[in-house]
């Protein structure tokens, strides 16, 4: 049974000011209703004035997705009552969107490349936000700081065939948007998704307002199971709108009034039609993910997997390019595998990591001044300092202070002999052919030298000592 998925994605554009007024869009951590003016509060008599930057950002996306920008597009009013919507209509675009017909390339579930077609993108304003007071209060509060934030709605054709494909599509889209510099994924609620899902031959269900990438995959997975179970039991899938309950990982029916909307769209009389097709040629696109990935492989001689990981986030790719000069392949391994893992573990952003320090660390590794194991320890110390907002020590200083420099021959022999002497049982086991005994002894030496010794070299020395009975 084929699964058919189409998405509508609402992306907050990272402009400095709102879509129709000069209020700042950066209201994080600010008091409610402090980034407002007559326009975004919808006061009687106020008029919208279009933010050119938002249009330019929209066109950047259109160009990157190879879309067609019609000669004329138009804003329209979408009329509905809701307490977070100050004018009781949202200024959006309806039958004349900013751009139409584009594509995004993703990997399908078999790892092959496939195109997801983009139906349209259009500009619209974000409504305010309702804050429900805890404790069964008789009222809710409205915060209009968000009111008027520019949104780009991106609508796909029903081209995805699984929840996983949908997630890959979103990741890809997010990467493109970040490359274009039009989107700040770290901002809460900066991306919201409505997902349409059906099983071939059955009715379609819309799951509204999912606010995370993982949420999309979860909601869709839940829906696939739910719909399949219905059909298995001989029931039918009802065409309806459902809500995703993020906390419980399920969707619930949104029956009733919400489905009966007639938005009474008509052209926004306070704004002139938009004639911007001519701008598209003037827009310079930055290097996009696919091109950068290919360049990384050629220029730095790194693997497809590393190139893909590194270019998956423009900030990570920039970081890599800052440290690649030390040793591109070594840098790729350390940034894409070790560093990224440590960052995820700490929930840290790459932006918090000083590239020059990492370059120094890579140099110490490259010159075999320290072992990989010691390198990880140094890295962790640096990241912990960064995470706490403390100055990041130079890696050489940490190596010095902690005595992490790679141990040399003489030091080894001493420790090896001590370990052999202290573990007669293991020595006996080794002699009777138990292979695990050697690993145990090497481990003991590693412990004593706190990772300063190279395990392979150690293995060689320990077995030499044992063979020659050098104790």
């Amino acid at each position: 049974m084929k699964t058919i998925v189409g998405l509508e994605i609402h992306v907050q554009l990272a402009t400095a000011t709102k879509l129709f007024c000069g209020c700042s869009t950066d209201y994080r951590d600010d008091e409610p209703n402090t980034h407002c003016c007559p326009v975004c509060l919808g006061l009687p008599g106020a008029l919208p004035r279009l933010n050119r930057k938002a249009v330019e950002y929209g066109l950047r996306v259109a160009k990157a997705l190879e879309m067609e920008v019609p000669e004329e597009s138009e804003f329209a009013r979408k009329n509905y009552f809701y307490p977070d919507l100050p004018k009781a209509y949202q200024i959006t675009q309806y039958d004349k969107p900013l751009a139409i017909a584009g594509t995004v390339e993703i990997e399908d579930d078999e790892g092959h490349e496939k195109n997801v077609r983009i139906t349209r993108v259009h500009l619209e304003e974000d409504p305010g936000r309702l804050v429900h007071v805890a404790g069964g209060s008789k009222y809710s509060l409205v915060d209009y700081n968000r009111s008027g934030i520019p949104l780009l709605e991106i609508v796909t054709e029903p081209d995805m065939r699984s929840p996983q494909e949908a997630r890959r599509f979103l990741n890809k889209l997010r990467t493109i948007l970040e490359y274009l510099g039009v989107f700040d994924g770290d901002r809460e609620g900066s991306l919201r998704v409505d997902a349409n899902i059906s099983l071939e031959g059955s009715e379609r269900v819309e799951v509204k307002n999912i606010s995370s990438y993982k949420g999309v995959e979860k909601a869709l997975t839940f829906e696939v199971t739910r719909q399949k179970n219905l059909l298995r039991r001989g029931q039918t899938v009802t065409r309806e709108t459902r809500h995703f309950m993020e906390g419980r990982g399920i969707t619930t029916s949104a029956r009733g009034k919400e489905e009966e909307h007639d938005y009474r769209y008509f052209p926004e009389p306070d704004l002139r039609p938009l004639r911007v097709a001519g701008w598209v040629a003037e827009i310079d696109l930055p290097e996009l993910p696919v091109a950068r990935k290919n360049r990384f492989m050629v220029q730095y001689g790194i693997s497809l997997n590393h190139a893909r990981t590194l270019t998956g986030d423009p900030k990570l790719a920039d970081f890599y390019e800052e440290v690649a000069h030390v040793d591109p392949v070594l840098a790729a391994t350390w940034v894409a595998d070790t560093l990224l893992g440590e960052l995820n573990y700490r929930d840290m952003s790459i932006a918090a990591v000083p590239a020059d320090r990492i370059a120094e660390l890579l140099a110490l590794l490259g010159s075999e001044t320290i072992t990989d194991k010691a390198g990880v320890q140094v890295l962790r110390e640096m990241l912990d300092a960064c995470a706490r907002g403390r100055p990041c020590e130079r890696p050489a200083a940490i190596v010095e202070r902690e005595g992490l420099a790679r141990a040399t021959g003489g030091e080894f022999t001493q420790v090896v002999q001590t370990v052999i002497a202290a573990n007669p049982q293991a020595v006996e086991d080794y002699r009777t052919g138990k292979k695990g005994a050697l690993n145990f002894l090497v481990g003991q030496v590693m412990k004593e030298t706190r990772g300063r010794a190279d395990p392979r070299e150690l293995g060689r020395i320990v077995s030499e000592c044992l063979e020659t009975g050098g104790v």
Partner: protein, 433 residues
């Protein structure tokens, strides 16, 4: 010289909703001139009701662009004038603050919806006032009260701060006893404002000239036909004769699209109004809604209680005209009719420099005379075409019928407001206003 103006009119016509007793004013072209402002134009610190109970306590935190300009030029804003609720009416009888009486004959309506502004000027309370004109709301009361009123070209005066009734049709404009004063007020308010995206940067800097020799005046048959009081038509023809005497020529023109003008107008203005007025829901305006009810119920109740019957009627008409399945039949068709009328005027204004006709088909009605909405709507037939076409139109007093004023309406090409002002000025100078 800056100073303070004391203002205490004997408002026996109910022209004002709010009056300001002591009004500070600054220096400038209008220093110390008392100006009344229609109560749908936002004024910082002065309540702006739109003649509606739903906004009876609403005090805007900002000035409309035209109000900023008035203050800059030293005008003393002495009060906010009565009006049909949200501009929806032709008589000022739909105001929640009671009807306005016509100073010429207090048993008559002043016209609407800017009836308060017209009455304040006609009664001599102020030399000039601001009105707004969506389908004739400046020109109709100007005609009925015997004063001058100009609806500027759409896009010539900023609508920023004008509480919207029908955005694509309306403009703020000057009302005064003389063409010269109307022109002076126009030159203050017609200044570019980037906050109104439908505006063009075409400031009005003009002193009226009475020289109209060679002016070609188009006479559309539709403006003298069925429904127009023959005595009004006759009075207007006489006035046009005077313009001919001043060297103007007349040419017959035709606006066939007039057939659909009223229907198109009422579909468009009610559609836009149904959307504009939706924000008045009791969350931020009017008394707080009852939170024990579901909000749909609470909104419905409050809106029923606080909006008058005419406003509710137009909201319902507009909601219907935009509804799925009907928008194509009503809203879309109205846009086609509107385009036709605009093209008719463009064509007519190739053969003529201005177009002349009566402002209103009759003289002022008695208070309470028009009871059914349809016959009220019909009286807008001669004013709505200029709004649909976006062209400038002025009404200038041109005589009386039964002792009541008649208005001569002069319409021009887009952004040729100066030309209709000149023609009106020439007439006024000739007959000795």
């Amino acid at each position: 010289m800056a100073g303070t103006l004391d203002f205490s009119p004997d408002d026996r016509y109910n022209a004002f909703i709010t009056t300001c007793l002591e009004v500070p004013f600054g220096d400038g072209a209008l220093a110390g001139t008392a100006v009344a402002v229609k109560d749908n134009i936002s004024t910082t610190g002065i309540r702006t009701t739109c003649g509606s109970r739903i906004l009876e306590d609403y005090v805007p935190p900002y000035d409309a662009h035209v109000v900023e300009l008035l203050r800059e030029k030293g005008a003393a804003i002495v009060g906010k004038t009565n009006m049909d609720e949200f501009g929806m009416g032709t008589t000022t009888e739909t105001s929640a603050f009671g009807p306005v009486r016509n100073p010429v004959d207090p048993t008559r309506v002043p016209g609407g919806s800017s009836g308060g502004s017209a009455a304040a000027v006609a009664a001599g309370f102020v030399p000039m006032a601001l009105g707004t004109d969506t389908g004739g709301s400046i020109r109709c009361p100007a005609a009925f009260c015997g004063i001058v009123g100009l609806k500027p070209t759409y896009g010539r005066v900023s609508r920023y701060g004008l509480v919207a009734y029908a955005n694509s049709l309306e403009q703020i404009g000057p009302m005064a006893r003389t063409v010269e004063d109307a022109s002076r007020l126009m030159s203050v308010i017609a200044r570019y404002d980037p906050r109104d995206s439908t505006m063009l940067d075409r400031p009005y800097d003009h002193r009226p000239s009475a020289d109209i020799a060679g002016l070609r005046i188009g006479i559309p048959e539709e403006y003298f036909g069925e429904g127009v009081d023959p005595r009004v038509a006759e009075t207007v023809r006489d006035a046009i004769g005077i313009l001919e005497g001043l060297g103007a020529d007349t040419v017959p023109v035709s606006i066939p699209g007039m057939r659909h003008a009223l229907a198109a107008y009422y579909v468009i203005c009610t559609s836009e109004a149904s959307s504009n007025l939706a924000r008045f829901d009791g969350v931020r305006y009017g008394p707080a809604v009852d939170t024990r009810k579901t909000w749909h119920e609470a909104y419905q109740e409050l809106r029923h209680e606080r909006f008058g019957a005419e406003v509710r009627r137009r909201i319902m008409l507009g909601t219907f005209a935009l509804s799925a399945g009907y928008a194509g039949r009503y809203y879309a068709k109205a846009q086609v009719a509107r385009r036709n009328i605009r093209q008719d005027f463009e064509r007519a204004l190739r053969d003529a420099d201005i177009i002349a006709g009566p402002t209103m088909p009759t003289v002022a009605f008695r208070l309470g005379e028009k009871t059914d909405p349809l016959s009220m709507y019909l009286s807008d037939i001669l004013t709505v075409p200029a709004n649909l076409a976006g062209i400038p139109a002025i009404s200038v007093p041109c005589g009386r019928v039964d002792g009541l004023p008649v208005g001569l309406q002069l319409m021009g090409r887009q952004f040729e407001d100066e030309r209709v002002v000149d023609a009106a000025f020439a007439y006024e100078q000739e007959v000795g206003a």
